[in-house]
């Protein structure tokens, strides 16, 4: 029997998800023994034409990481969707929009200006930016278009499963591969990780009080952090209470608060709103002014609570206020 064919692809991502696959270490040899990798641009020299040459559904599974924010990425994932029986959104960016999804607080024009006009490393006066179409003596040249709004993979194509995390923890990748190879996958749409909150398996759980009362929210880089006590109880913005378990809490073990990369459990629709709700409730005062002062310690609510999930949120992005409302 021939081995199942597998593809891996990246869109708007940092490359960390690719690194996570490499982090399987010897495990990757088992994978290679069990499947045929027929497309993996970061590691193997296959071209788009190789994918086009596959029959529809010929790939048993395709892992796609990264958010979708350009016409090219969109075309590629539509192509891969046709060729694959199962598509797995791999990592926070594909699942929820991820860090690139924070571009949804601004727009295409500002992103282009920042990259091609304002960055200090640019040669002075050089404001050349890529245009999507240009005519040269040999004919017309085209470049992909950058979208106004960054999207999650499932806002563009149908997705079968999700591997959460920035990047997905090796254990979860191994379990997912095991499930695929043995045909023991859960129902379509499942996030392939435990469906409980991170706090459940946190070493500091015992020191997390039932009723948290935070008098001051602190920023990690300005704080001497106790290595044993619950981080939220210390006033650090630890999002463990609203984040999915499954990473083994590496951040907390490194004495840093959880920023929520594994995303929400299945009971939550909008991660940022839920995180905001959980954190705000801990502000330790019943006096409105004092609440404002305490919560004022959270300097960037959008960046804090939607760090990995703005495109997947109910509002998806930032909008232009109406003339009357804009100040």
């Amino acid at each position: 029997m021939s081995k199942p064919k597998v593809g891996l692809y990246w869109c708007a991502a940092c490359g960390g998800c690719e690194e996570a696959v490499v982090d399987l270490a010897e495990g990757i040899l088992d994978v290679v023994a069990a499947v045929d990798i027929v497309f993996w641009p970061v590691a193997l020299d296959f071209k788009r034409s190789d994918v086009e040459a596959l029959a529809d559904g010929e790939l048993a599974v395709c892992f796609i990481n990264g958010a979708i924010r350009s016409s090219e990425q969109c075309e590629m994932v539509e192509l891969l969707r046709r060729k694959a029986q199962a598509v797995i959104a791999f990592g926070s960016c594909a699942q929820l929009g991820g860090i690139p999804g924070l571009a949804n607080v601004t727009n295409r024009r500002s992103v282009m200006d920042e990259a091609y006009k304002n960055v200090p490393s640019l040669e002075k006066g050089n404001t050349v930016e890529p245009i999507t179409e240009s005519t040269v003596p040999e004919g017309k040249l085209e470049l992909p278009t950058l979208w106004e709004t960054v999207k999650t993979l499932d806002q563009v194509i149908d997705v079968d499963y999700y591997l959460p995390g920035c990047p997905p923890p090796v254990e979860l990748i191994k379990n997912a591969l095991q499930a695929i190879l043995t045909g023991q996958l859960p129902p379509k749409g499942t996030v392939l990780a435990p469906d409980i909150a991170l706090c459940e398996h946190c070493d500091r759980r015992e020191s997390k009080p039932d009723k948290l009362s935070v008098k001051e929210f602190k920023r990690a880089h300005l704080t001497q952090i106790d290595p044993k006590e619950c981080l939220l109880a210390q006033g650090l913005l630890c999002l463990g209470p609203v984040t999915r378990d499954g990473c083994g809490t590496p951040c907390i073990k490194a004495n840093m608060p959880c920023t929520g990369c594994l995303g929400p459990t299945s009971h939550v629709q909008d991660y940022g709103a839920k995180a905001l709700s959980a954190i705000a409730s801990t502000a330790g005062s019943n006096d409105e002014k004092e609440m404002e002062t305490i919560l004022g310690g959270i300097v960037d609510p959008v960046g804090t609570f939607y760090r990995y999930s703005l495109p997947a949120s109910l509002l998806h992005r930032r909008y232009q206020p109406t003339v009357e409302g804009g100040k």
Binding site: A273, L314, G325
Partner: protein, 165 residues
């Protein structure tokens, strides 16, 4: 001027109100039985306590066509469950800042403490809020401009994929 800033006389704001069972909902009932008239723009959802109001409900309402959201609870100290309205207030304070950063105008989400006996406060708040939202115009997120307004360039690829949403 784009569509979303136009305020034709025909625009009737749609406001979703989440009223707590013990105070504000009772007050709205009272306003009803006392035959007080107020703007018919509010759809009231009864919740047991303002502390039960998940911020997700507010975002979902705005996403799904509400032009504004009104939250009503018992006065501080009067919550049937003691602490619920303090929780609601903490969330509201932070949510207001987050919504402002996402370009949702301030007047669209409002929190008021209204006791069971304050029927006329229900009337006043609903009338005020309807006027505020009428002035702000329809929310219509899917038709809104990105921020800051796009100067030039092609957005056709984005448009092909559901535009700006």
């Amino acid at each position: 001027m784009s569509e979303n800033t136009q305020k034709s006389d025909s625009f009737e704001p749609r406001i979703v109100a989440f009223f707590c069972n013990w105070c504000t909902y009772t007050a709205a009932d009272l306003a009803g039985t006392a035959r007080m008239t107020y703007a018919p723009n509010v759809r009231v959802v009864r919740i047991m306590c303002s502390g039960r109001l998940d911020p997700q409900f507010i975002l979902a309402a705005l996403r799904d066509g509400a032009d504004g959201v009104l939250i009503g609870g018992c006065h501080p100290g009067d919550c049937h469950y003691q602490e619920g309205n303090y929780k609601a207030l903490r969330r509201f304070i932070l949510l207001k800042r987050m919504l402002a950063s996402l370009g949702i105008e301030e007047g669209r989400v409002r929190l008021e403490w209204i006791a069971a006996s304050e029927g006329e406060k229900v009337q006043r708040v609903i009338n005020e809020m309807t006027e505020t939202v009428r002035r702000l115009g329809p929310l219509r997120l899917e038709q809104r401009q990105m921020i800051p307004a796009e100067a030039h360039g092609s957005a056709h690829a984005a448009a092909a994929h559901g535009g700006n949403v």
